[in-house]
């Protein structure tokens, strides 16, 4: 049933439809509205089967593309992308195309996803859903190896919506990100403000509660990946026609006459809230606004539209600091809410006016539910997370940050966005966590200055996160660390910090346990556990854990690399090579996989291959002294000794604390018979690592060659004292024997 743009949005409880509707029409509309509401309710309670049943019912009774979208959304929520795919195939509405593209993406039908988002025969057609659409398209291009296009679309996404954090992350990973200060700077501030200021005028709502609930749940209907109030609008059946409609409806109510009829124009201003709730479970899309200030005037359209934004504003207004004085919070006209369930419900109960009624109760219930669910499924180390229940900007940003940070656990600074995007299929409770973010607020308080300060706060934090992440993607880890250290203390002190001490098995296992207890569905959790086992040298079990991570998310390049590392440790080189190659297919800039392959080839004595792979790894990550020193080793094996020495020097400079390149340098010098220089290097090395047996062993070997037998014996003895492996004991003792019998013919050493 079509509604014109000027019709107000239907609110379920206050069935205040336009009086011009006929009785039967009213009945039909009521029926449709009830059905939609049922679906949304079911979704909110994760009762997918029920939701799907009613969606199908709805589509049968009231066939319309909007209802089809709702059904598709249900399927997507229930992880049945293929069903969504089939029902949306061929649809043309922007939102349908977007959902269809999403389904294709989840089913790995990247070509179709691309065609849906930018049809080949309509080159100038607008990418549906603005920033979100561009972001999805960017992902499609990324996975089909068209880097330039991917970069273009991510940038588009960001320009349409500066709060599309994950688009920025993707750019960092692709190595094409501009400095965070530029991206999250003035232009971004203006863009965000524009979007919100639109709605401050339209903040007076009635019937908001119900709509909010609709919106909230419809928000969840949308793919786990993205949410946009625009979509919400459509889903709530408000706007059957096209995306712009909703926006327009809102602006119409705000500005009155004179709005351009075509909503397309407004699209760019339409704020697509940060979509990537899935990737960062806590990154909630704008919580819906609940206007507790009943106000007769409004149009419900305005309400619906403004709600998400108003809420964001209220969120923004909340003080940054973690333990915001709750007292202050309450004081701020009691409108700002923290996310904690009980408080919200109390407040709601207290303030719920006529409107609230049952809504408040249910929402409160929801709130409680959701916040705990939110907490539960957060990927953060629960310890760190529990302390923050407030859904203020920093928190949200924090979780984003932590996600990125946690990825750092697994690879120094190489987060895997893919994990987020790729996690789509595993229907994240995260999507539903968005519920948890439902934060009622009052539109009334919003005004220019608060939007400004709020935006400014968000952006300043984003600048830090963004710059840190960008640097870490370029492996300028020290710089990244410095940037991150400017973040508020609470952000810093999370699982990420624990992860820095990777080799400290205990801390790692603590982290792993926390991760698993908070989110079993996250491949990262399994990776953390796998790393624990690997540290304990139980490579088979480690491998199993990494394989599980791969199962959960086959696009998680790092999981493949970790599998490969274990295969290599188990000496199953073919499998190792295969896994490294899988990782590279997903992410050709995954330098660990390049390095891993180099190591295998080194072992197999295929030195040219080894050199090539180490060099590539080096190019991607120019600050890893370990990779440089292995490159040097390969060069030495290829007898390109001057190059090898040069590489070792670079490695030494890159990290003074890494003793290996010095050791290798000494070995190379020894092979070139520059014994004195070699000994010099080793003497210095003794300072760094006084208990390293191989240093003394090598020195003994050199003294032996210099026929300085006493010194040789001394050093061999020292080497033995440091308990080398059985093989080395044999070698060293054999060498010692030869010292005693200088006249014997040289045996093969």
């Amino acid at each position: 049933m079509k509604k014109t743009k000027t019709k107000p949005q239907i609110s379920l409880l206050s069935l205040s439809l336009s009086l011009s509707l006929s009785e039967s029409k009213m009945k039909e509309e009521a029926m449709e509205a009830i059905l939609r509401n049922t679906v949304q309710n079911s979704l909110r309670h994760f009762m997918y089967k029920n939701a799907i049943f009613f969606s199908e019912f709805l589509c049968a009774e009231f066939p319309s593309e909007a209802n089809l979208q709702l059904l598709a959304s249900c399927y997507l929520q229930d992880n049945r992308a293929q069903c969504a795919y089939h029902i949306l195939k061929g649809t043309q509405m922007a939102q349908s195309r977007y959902l269809f593209a999403l389904s294709c993406f989840q089913m790995d039908l990247l070509n179709e996803a691309e065609a849906a988002l930018c049809p080949a025969n309509e080159p100038i057609a607008e990418v549906p859903n603005g920033g979100a659409g561009h972001y999805l398209l960017g992902l499609v291009y990324r996975y089909t190896d068209r880097r330039t296009n991917a970069v273009h679309h991510f940038k588009q996404a960001l320009s349409l919506d500066p709060l599309l954090w994950t688009a920025y992350e993707e750019l960092c990973i692709l190595g094409a990100a501009e400095e965070a200060a530029a991206v999250f700077g003035e232009g971004a501030a203006i863009c965000i403000q524009k979007q919100y200021l639109h709605h401050t005028f339209a903040s007076h709502n009635s019937h908001v509660s119900e709509e909010d609930r609709n919106l909230t749940s419809s928000r969840n209907l949308v793919s786990a990946e993205e949410v946009s109030p625009r979509q919400l609008k459509q889903l709530s059946g408000n706007n059957v026609r096209e995306v712009p409609g909703s926006c327009q409806g809102m602006t119409t109510s705000v500005r009155g006459a004179g709005q351009p009829p075509n909503g397309v124009y407004h699209l760019s201003l339409y704020n697509t809230p940060s979509p990537i709730a899935t990737q960062f479970s806590a990154a909630a899309p704008p919580p819906l606004c609940r206007n507790l200030q009943p106000n007769g005037s409004n149009t419900s359209t305005a309400a619906a539209d403004s709600s998400p934004r108003s809420t964001i504003n209220s969120t923004i207004q909340a003080p940054r600091r973690k333990f915001v004085d709750e007292g202050k919070l309450r004081k701020i006209s009691g409108r700002l809410f923290s996310d904690s369930g009980p408080r919200r419900s109390t407040r709601l109960a207290a303030e719920a006016g006529a409107n609230a009624g049952t809504n408040a109760a249910s929402v409160a219930g929801n709130g409680t539910n959701n916040s705990s669910k939110y907490l539960g499924s957060s990927k953060l180390s629960s310890a760190a997370f529990r302390s923050v229940t407030v859904r203020k900007v920093p928190n949200w940003a924090n979780e984003n940050f932590d996600e990125g940070m946690r990825n750092e656990v697994f690879d120094d600074c190489r987060s895997n966005i893919v994990s987020g995007a790729g996690a789509l299929p595993s229907v994240d409770n995260k999507a539903l966590d968005q519920e948890g973010a439902t934060m009622p607020c009052s539109g009334v308080l919003l005004n220019n200055s608060k939007v400004l300060t709020g935006t400014a706060e968000i952006l300043s934090l984003l600048r830090l996160f963004g710059e840190g992440y960008r640097l870490s993607c370029m492996y300028r880890c020290q710089d990244a660390l410095e940037v991150y250290s400017k973040l508020p203390h609470k952000h810093y002190n999370t699982g990420w910090v624990l992860s820095q001490h990777l080799k400290e098995g205990m801390k790692l296992s603590y982290l792993a346990r926390e991760l698993i207890s908070t989110d079993r569905l996250a491949p990262q959790s399994w990776c953390a556990i796998g790393n624990c086992y690997s540290l304990q040298k139980d490579h088979e079990t480690a491998l199993k854990n990494f394989q599980r991570a791969v199962q959960l998310d086959s696009k998680f390049a790092y999981a493949h690399t970790l599998c490969a590392h274990e295969y290599v440790a188990l000496e199953e080189f073919e499998n190792g090579i295969r896994s490294y190659q899988s990782a590279l297919r997903i992410d050709s800039r995954h330098y660990n996989a390049w390095y891993g392959l180099g190591m295998v080839y080194l072992r197999q004595e295929k030195f040219e291959f080894a050199e090539h792979h180490f060099r590539t790894a080096c190019r991607i990550n120019p600050s890893s002294s370990i990779i440089m020193s292995y490159l040097g080793t390969a060069l030495h094996a290829l007898k390109r000794n001057s190059e090898a020495l040069e590489m070792m020097e670079r490695a030494i400079l890159a990290d003074r604390k890494n003793p290996l390149p010095m050791y290798q340098k000494a070995k190379i010098l020894e092979s070139l018979e520059s014994f004195d220089e070699a000994l010099e290097v080793l003497e210095e090395l003794k300072e760094y690592a006084p208990r390293e047996s191989s240093v003394y062993a090598l020195m003994g070997m050199i003294y032996k060659r210099l026929n300085m037998n006493d010194k040789a014996m001394l050093h061999f003895g020292l080497a033995l004292d440091l308990k080398p492996s059985a093989t080395d004991v044999a070698t060293i003792k054999a060498a010692m024997e030869k010292l005693h019998l200088p006249d014997e013919l040289a045996e093969d050493s």
């Binding site: 697994f410 690879d411 990777l502 080799k503 790393n531 040298k537 970790l562 590392h565 440790a569 000496e571 660990n592 390095y595 190591m599 080194l602 072992r603 890893s624 002294s625 370990i626 990779i627 080793t633 094996a637 990290d655 604390k657 890494n658 003793p659 290996l660 050791y663 070995k667 760094y688 690592a689 208990r691 390293e692 047996s693 191989s694 062993a697 090598l698 440091l722 308990k723 080398p724 492996s725 059985a726 093989t727 080395d728 004991v729 044999a730 070698t731 003792k733 054999a734 024997e737």
Partner: protein, 192 residues
């Protein structure tokens, strides 16, 4: 070439046998990449029963003594230990008694490196290949031959249920002569 023990052939008696195979962390089983063959076998009890990780199946020879198990490696390997699973309670007169281990580049150049006499063994029997000299911890060879010279109760044919061959673990870091012992070195050994 096989390294000979400076004192000539060593004789030793081995009794008992451990029911469980305990594998040292320093050691690696090297038989997987080798080619195994036997001098003779009864149909259905061939060489594969020696390497199937099942203690139920066994190799049974079928001919005159001595019986041989030959192990050919792709390239020279360092070996340190041979472990047999034999069970007097199950196999009685088929249980090997005198066992000789030889090594060399090929059949023509095999030399005995160890010889033992088993006395009613019941489980895994460890035969070390190391000499007394630390230089002789390992045997560096292309080929290994395990010869069953006689059985308990003068049985003609023999049963062996499983054989494993161990050598030292290779350096996890490629192209490195010595293994690293200190945490300072090991932290920087790998990229994860």
């Amino acid at each position: 070439m096989a390294t000979e023990s400076s004192e000539g052939e060593e004789e030793g008696k081995l009794t008992g046998g451990s029911p469980v195979l305990s594998e040292d962390d320093d050691l690696r089983e090297k038989g997987k990449k080798a080619s195994w063959s036997v001098s003779s076998w009864k149909s259905g009890n061939g060489v594969s029963s020696l390497r199937d990780d099942s203690l139920e199946t066994y190799w049974q020879s079928d001919g005159a003594q001595p019986h041989f198990v030959n192990v050919h490696f792709e390239k020279k390997v360092k070996l340190q230990l041979v472990v047999l699973y034999v069970d007097y309670k199950l196999d009685e007169s088929y249980t090997p008694s005198k066992v000789s281990v030889r090594a060399g580049d090929g059949f023509h150049s095999l030399k005995e490196i160890r010889s033992v006499e088993l006395v009613e063994p019941t489980g895994w029997v460890y035969i070390s290949l190391s000499g007394n000299d630390p230089r002789e911890t390992f045997v560096n060879t292309f080929m290994l031959q395990i010869a069953v010279l006689s059985n308990h109760l003068n049985g003609r044919d023999t049963h062996v249920r499983q054989i494993k061959v161990y050598g030292p673990r290779p350096n996890p870091i490629p192209c490195q002569r010595f293994q690293f012992t200190s945490p300072e070195f090991n932290t920087y050994a790998f990229v994860r």
